[in-house]
Symmetry: C2
Subunit: 348 residues, 2 copies
């Protein structure tokens, strides 16, 4: 393919987000991109196929004090193209690791085509007999996060009681199933009765409840009458505060996300940390940069399980790049069932 100028639809950050994101925070722009890779430059030119709507992206949509030096958590500049995990096809490449016509997953732009110089977070897709969209979720950062969170951070043991909040989201539904594979008793909470039903009857959760319809304390007492060994935390705020009261001695709180808190200027106060002492609870936060090196091991573990239908994976696929702002904003209102993904173009 020769170097040509291509029309390139893009999603830009229009303004820094306050509270939960809305479509108006983003802007759709038509621009042009050249597929020409200048001589001497290490770059790939990608045709983007899937974009992952990852809650953690919210972190980069606000101007915040960026003291933690993680490039992936740095606020976007206003007017710049959103960057996030996704799946793409390599159109041109001057990097031997990335062959033309191959598929890759990693950090790409929310646009039709991306030119990425010296890519840092980009991996060639090894197995293409499974849906490519899976690499924007279960076979990408999301799956690895659930796996690492359950297996490493949580130190889950057989027979333990594992509670997952936001359990019908991309990470939650996998964390719950991974814990089930370790013969745990797994319960989840979610925001609609439909999703409660899916958790119990489709995803194999032992129990589940709709946190919007029940007093949280009563619900947790009902579904975990003897307490919780591991809390896979996706929510934060009042949820976290209540869960601490239901933790067992030597319980672990694995802090994967706090979706209720991203949009708050003053975060909710947590009052029950005192119990960390008497219950000897370990609480630990983690983000994906922790554990890239586990990915090959995770992939080889997950692929046969997917091929053998041992994992139920749900995706909520929105069509078209222009649907990205709404799909992303939707996850903050529990609109997605399963992993929210945007499909830009036909995938093969």
């Amino acid at each position: 393919m020769e170097a040509i100028l291509l029309a390139n639809k893009q999603v830009l950050l229009k303004r820094y987000v306050e509270g939960n994101p809305s479509e108006d925070d983003f802007e759709l722009k038509m621009s042009y991109i050249s597929s020409h890779i200048p001589q001497g430059s290490n770059a790939v030119f990608l045709k983007n196929i899937y974009l992952a709507c990852d809650p953690a992206l919210r972190y980069r949509l606000s101007a915040h004090d960026h003291s933690d030096n993680i490039a992936l958590l740095k606020p976007f500049n206003l007017g710049s193209v959103i960057q996030g995990f996704g799946v793409a096809k390599v159109i041109k490449s001057t990097i031997p690791d990335f062959e033309e016509e191959s598929y890759v997953w990693g950090v790409i732009g929310w646009e039709e085509y991306s030119m990425i110089e010296n890519p840092k977070v980009l991996y060639t897709i090894k197995y293409t007999d499974v849906p490519l969209s899976y690499y924007a979720g279960i076979l990408g950062m999301v799956g690895l996060t659930a796996y690492f969170g359950i297996n490493n951070i949580s130190s889950v043991k057989e027979g333990e009681v594992v509670y997952v909040s936001s359990a019908a989201g991309g990470t939650g539904l996998l964390a719950g199933q991974f814990a089930k594979m370790m013969n745990c008793y797994v319960v989840g909470s979610t925001s609609t009765d439909e999703k409660v039903d899916i958790l119990k009857n489709k995803l194999g959760f032992d129990d589940a409840f709709n946190y919007k319809k029940e007093d949280l304390g009563e619900a947790l007492k009902r579904v975990c009458p003897n307490g919780i060994d591991v809390y896979f935390e996706n929510v934060g705020g009042a949820m976290l505060d209540e869960v601490i009261l239901h933790m067992k001695t030597h319980g672990r709180i694995t802090v994967c996300g706090m979706i209720s808190q991203y949009g708050l200027k003053e975060k909710d106060g947590i009052h029950n940390l005192f119990h960390l002492i008497s219950k000897r609870i370990r609480m630990e936060g983690f983000v994906d940069v922790n554990y890239w090196n586990f990915y090959p091991q995770y992939l080889e573990w997950a692929i046969p399980l997917i091929r053998d239908n041992k994992i139920v994976y749900l995706q909520d696929i929105a069509k078209g790049l222009e649907s990205a702002p709404a799909a992303f904003s939707g996850i903050f209102h529990g609109k997605n069932i399963g992993k929210a993904v945007v499909n830009i173009v036909a995938d093969k």
Copy 2:
């Protein structure tokens, strides 16, 4: 010694404590105790010498929901004798492990004599060439707590920055020195300039500040300009909330106590837990029941250090059983310099 009835001064819990304890929450009572151990009963009759004023005892002075099943954290009954760590002499014993005339440390009563049947937390003192009072602190639960907290829970590594709050208290001054022995950069906070001076010039802390005289954020920025690797937490509340902002990536918060929170019905809200994710912080609570099995190892490590004056240990010894309520209440106002201990009777 024949069985006789002895006058026995006791300290009872008069009312459940609200807020910080005061002398009025306790009652001094004169009663009588028989030194006779009934046949067939496994018991020791003790003459009590030292009582440890341990902040954690506060936990047992309020009527709280006792769901965690740790006997040592159960609320005392009103009118009952306070039970806590201390040092005693064995006067009579029907238990082979405890020889008459030997010294023991463990959980005893706040009274002149205690009859303890089937003692659960009582240890014969092996080395008596060091002050006996040390077994109510550095050579007892307090020392073991500091040791286990720094070495096991915190995973402290050479060269790390360790911040200790309530650093001139019994546990804090040891935690700081134990971290110094691992070549850490150790800073502490305390409540008076006199104690700041002691931390810096007597206990070998690299830096220290008076949290009552300075803005906490400014002080932490000054003493830990590049952030904190390990926070040895004794305070809770606003202190904890601010420290989170100063933690480095992969920092650890070792939750030993929260002295500012014991007396609060509604504990202070902690707003900065969100940073646990991006900074990948591990926060872990612990209490002494975790690690009794480490005691022999700790003792053998600590004894030569004490003999060789490699540890500076400070005690704040109040004289007379009747001084116990004031000495204990005093630690909640930072009145003690070093470990607060009550000396009931001459020790040898």
